[in-house]
């Protein structure tokens, strides 16, 4: 299966001549050369390409830490409502519907996370982290209390490190404890009056609940620091534990993980941020609130300003609202229960050691003597998507697996079979994998060594 590039189907140069241009020549470019194709050709192009793409509706997608849940199609209809298609610079008076929905979603998220105020502005989880750390920074500054460090466990998502650095903090990396959780003694050593915040995922990136969370929170708070919750794993806890109740001061939600908005091949997501009452005045601007039956936008008193040019990924937020409303208390709690059950059941069926536990919605198996990435490639040959591999790093040859609640037992058994048969295959078969897919193993090194990032680059190479 090979679908030519658009540019290989047609390439047409359109000249921009002064005579039929509304602009003088010196304000315009000379020409544009792009593919000129008809609608039927494009329909086929993209239909074929779509069929060359794995997705949640194709089959299991057990990428650990990515939470690839089923995305209910009705949420797409809801977001396609023409009344949702409004400009952000409209008056509040003429956009009451949008503001009401945003306000309701702020409220829902607050209840789910145990947070007092929620901003919906961050357009992705990482942007949420950035907004959250800006809030922490502003809080400390407002207290005349400049702090220079953010503590991040070694097992944390890369975004935590990058975000802290982006906000100008020094990153203090906390090694994992022997049981895979935060080493409280190491934390004690790391925490100081320079500590602006500790960023924590709970359950952590191998699915373990940080049992010492109350103690951890006390330690950080005693030192005047704040506790930041990375919401990437919230799908494990719905209805059973709330970051706000555990002592977290700030958290972000990944609505494309926990609330089933589609990942769209890498985005758009949305990363709302919840904070405790004390921090509400620092939230990004504008914030939505109800006043006397109508909704308004306002700037929180000590707002950190903006992390997005407008109001974030509105259409994604609509889908998240629809999902939460569809499930309600019972559905959300059940989603987590089944996500955790599935992870536990699958781990039981897989012939691999899982060094750390008890885990929740995901588990980090170790491929042991095998190369985890090779095993993953071989799994492609068995018709499933493999788990996240070689991460987190403290698990050797990690295969971080998160089936989510949407698989049933049959499909988990299929997944397990793919694991086990891959593991039983020879080293040669693994290195040669995938051999049954349309595309064979792709040379990543060559792509990086000789970057060809456009069809222009390919054309140049051919010449």
């Amino acid at each position: 299966v090979y679908e030519p590039l658009l540019s290989e189907k047609n390439s047409t140069r359109v000249e921009i001549d002064e005579e039929d241009s509304p602009l003088p020549d010196d304000l315009t470019r000379d020409s544009v050369e792009l593919p000129e194709l008809s609608e039927p050709e494009l329909a086929r192009h993209y239909t074929r390409l779509s069929q060359m793409n794995w997705s949640v509706e194709t089959g299991p997608y057990p990428l650990g830490s990515c939470t690839m849940k089923y995305n209910p199609s009705f949420t797409e209809d809801v977001a396609a409502d023409p009344n949702a298609a409004i400009h952000p610079d409209r008056s509040a008076r003429s956009s009451q519907g949008t503001l009401e929905l945003l306000s309701d979603l702020q409220d829902y998220l607050g209840r789910i996370g145990g947070m007092d105020a929620v901003t919906l502005q961050p357009p992705a989880g990482a942007a949420g982290e950035f907004a959250g750390i800006l809030v922490a920074k502003a809080y400390h500054e407002a207290n005349g209390n400049d702090r220079s460090e953010v503590i991040v466990p070694a097992s944390a998502h890369g975004t935590n490190f990058a975000t802290a650095a982006m906000a100008g903090y020094d990153v203090v990396e906390l090694p994992s404890g022997e049981d895979g959780r935060v080493d409280v003694e190491a934390l004690d050593a790391a925490v100081s009056e320079d500590t602006a915040a500790l960023m924590l995922t709970n359950p952590n990136t191998v699915g373990l609940f940080e049992r010492d969370i109350v103690e951890i929170a006390e330690m950080v708070h005693d030192a005047g620091g704040l506790l930041y919750y990375d919401g990437a794993n919230l799908n494990a806890l719905l209805g059973r534990g709330r970051p706000g109740d555990m002592g977290f001061d700030i958290m972000h939600y990944n609505v494309h993980k926990t609330f089933a908005t589609p990942h769209g091949g890498g985005g758009p997501g949305a990363g709302p941020v919840g904070v405790v009452e004390e921090l509400a005045e620092f939230l990004p601007s504008p914030h939505v609130r109800e006043r006397g039956g109508s909704y308004e936008l306002y700037e929180p008193e000590r707002s950190v300003g903006k992390v997005h040019g407008y109001a974030g990924n509105w259409l994604v937020l609509v889908k998240a609202y629809a999902y939460i409303a569809r499930l309600g208390d019972e559905g959300l709690a059940d989603a987590s229960a089944k996500a955790v059950l599935n992870a536990n059941y699958l781990a039981e069926q897989v012939d691999l050691e899982v060094p750390y536990g008890p885990f929740h919605h995901e588990f980090a198996a170790t491929a042991g003597e095998r190369d985890a990435a090779d095993v993953a490639k071989r799994m492609l040959d068995y018709g499933v998507h493999p788990p996240t591999t070689k991460w987190p790093e403290f698990v050797p040859e990690a295969m971080l697996t998160e089936p989510t609640e949407v698989e049933n037992r049959d499909s988990l058994d299929d997944l397990a079979r793919a694991f086990n048969e891959s593991l039983a295959d020879s080293e040669e078969e693994l290195e040669d994998a995938p051999s049954r897919t349309a595309a064979r193993r792709i040379d990543q090194a060559s792509a990086a060594r000789n970057p060809r990032l456009s069809w222009h680059a390919l054309d140049a190479e051919e010449e």
Binding site: R111, G264, K306, A311, L341, Y345, A439, R441, H456
Partner: protein, 440 residues
């Protein structure tokens, strides 16, 4: 079926058997949460049926007034062909993840490669990434790139005094953790005051940012000079624009732009309350400083062309605190839609659309200018999609009265409105002019 999540497929019997298989008595047993922090309350969110959620949200959204919007200022929409909705909604695209297993995600990778290629063609720069969140974060990332990659020792980032507030505030936050300082330079009659800029630029300037068109819709007539001024002092020249304007206005590479940022969601997306698609393109020289994802061509083991995410060592999941950016999830699906829309238009359609952005704005300005107490456009020169309108009466009152007549326009000064026209509202310009007459 069990009660609970409609999207969890387990029957009660299956749940029991699975619990038995893992040696647990109940689902609760699987949660290793200390008593002290166990949540046993309720959210108080009632589950609703699919049709009821649809009805409820439709009812809520219907509270948005039905206005004809003449709004722009960085969030622009054109008619999105049905094809784009239909194909982009295919679940293989919509419900897929980042392409970490390229062997089974060639489809999406190729679309992103094509998106990058279109931007390479339109900007004239050889490197374009897969997307930033929006124009504001793209600009902010450009400043950070200038900080990292700078050719000079300077810390100053120069931006025009007329800049959308949202952009400026995002930029401020992104550079707050660096040693960069943002300063403004003056504008003259809506475009860059070249002499003033030149006077301001020194060897301590890391980046000069200019826009074409400006936030007020003015087409910048002396871009190449800005490029030269930047180049002479060793500063990076960052140009802000949008994907439709690129099809007609001067090619960024030809005026010396080092980085191009802006909005690409004017194609592919309906008006969506500011949800965007940050475009980001740059010179080869800064390739390893680029934030966000890049798709590159490669070969598979059978030597067939294949695509893959590449140069990932720039990114947070590998480089952690030394990453070029913390961005992870981006706007990939929006980029896919934009690529589809651009492909649908083709070069002829794109250029035509861009020309209409000039002519429609000119005609509407001329019509408004004919009204008593109105002057448009306020700024001389050429405009793209939008322009500032002077009204003798207080602008706020006029805008509010126009809203009552069913039209939305921007208020940008005490006596200034801003009006944006695209193919979506072009058939309503007569009605807008009448409404102006009504409320003046």
């Amino acid at each position: 079926m069990t009660r609970g999540s409609p999207y969890a497929p387990h029957t009660d019997a299956e749940t029991k058997e699975m619990l038995a298989a893992v040696g647990a008595e109940s689902e609760e047993d699987l949660f290793d949460i200390p008593e002290a922090v166990r949540f046993d309350g309720e959210f108080g969110i009632e589950a609703r049926r699919e049709r009821d959620v649809r009805r409820e949200i439709a009812t809520t959204l219907a509270k948005n007034d039905d206005l004809t919007e003449f709004l722009g200022r960085g969030h622009h929409s054109h008619y999105v062909p049905s094809l784009v909705d239909d194909l982009s909604r295919r679940s293989e695209f919509l419900t897929s993840y980042t392409q970490y297993q390229p062997e089974i995600t060639q489809g999406f990778l190729q679309v992103l490669f094509e998106y990058q290629s279109m931007l390479v063609e339109l900007t004239g720069l050889p490197v374009a990434n897969c997307s930033m969140y929006d124009d504001a974060t793209a600009l902010a990332e450009a400043a950070r790139l200038a900080g990292r990659a700078r050719r000079v020792s300077g810390e100053r980032v120069l931006v025009p005094e007329i800049l959308r507030e949202g952009k400026r505030r995002v930029l401020d936050n992104y550079v707050a953790g660096t040693d960069l300082d943002v300063e403004t330079y003056p504008m003259d009659d809506g475009t860059v005051d070249i002499d003033a800029l030149e006077a301001q630029v020194d060897e301590d300037v890391a980046m000069v940012y200019a826009e074409n068109p400006t936030v007020r819709g003015s087409i910048e007539p002396r871009l190449a000079e800005i490029g030269d001024i930047s180049d002479d002092s060793g500063a990076l020249f960052c140009l802000g624009t949008d994907i439709v304007a690129l099809a007609l206005l001067e090619e960024p590479a030809s005026v010396g732009a080092d980085v191009v940022v802006g909005e690409a969601d004017a194609l592919g997306m309906p008006t969506s309350y500011g949800m965007g698609l940050g475009l980001f393109a740059t010179r080869e020289e800064f390739l390893r400083q680029v934030p966000g994802r890049l798709v590159g061509a490669s070969e598979d083991a059978a030597d067939k062309r294949a695509y893959t995410l590449t140069l990932q060592t720039r990114e947070q999941h590998i480089r952690k605190e030394r990453a070029t950016s913390n961005i992870c999830t981006n706007q990939a699906w929006v980029a896919l839609r934009t690529a589809m829309h651009a492909a649908y238009l083709g070069p002829s359609g794109l250029v035509d659309l861009a020309k209409r952005c000039v002519t429609d704005a000119e005609s509407l300005a001329a019509e408004l200018d004919g009204l008593k107490g109105v002057r448009a456009p306020v700024h001389d020169g050429h405009h793209f999609r939008e322009f500032v309108v002077h009204v003798d009466q207080p602008a706020k009152a006029i805008a509010s009265d126009l809203e009552a007549e069913g039209f939305a326009v921007h208020v940008v000064g005490e006596h200034r409105l801003q009006v944006c026209v695209t193919d979506l509202n072009a058939s309503k310009t007569d009605a807008l002019v009448s409404a102006f007459e009504e409320v003046l």
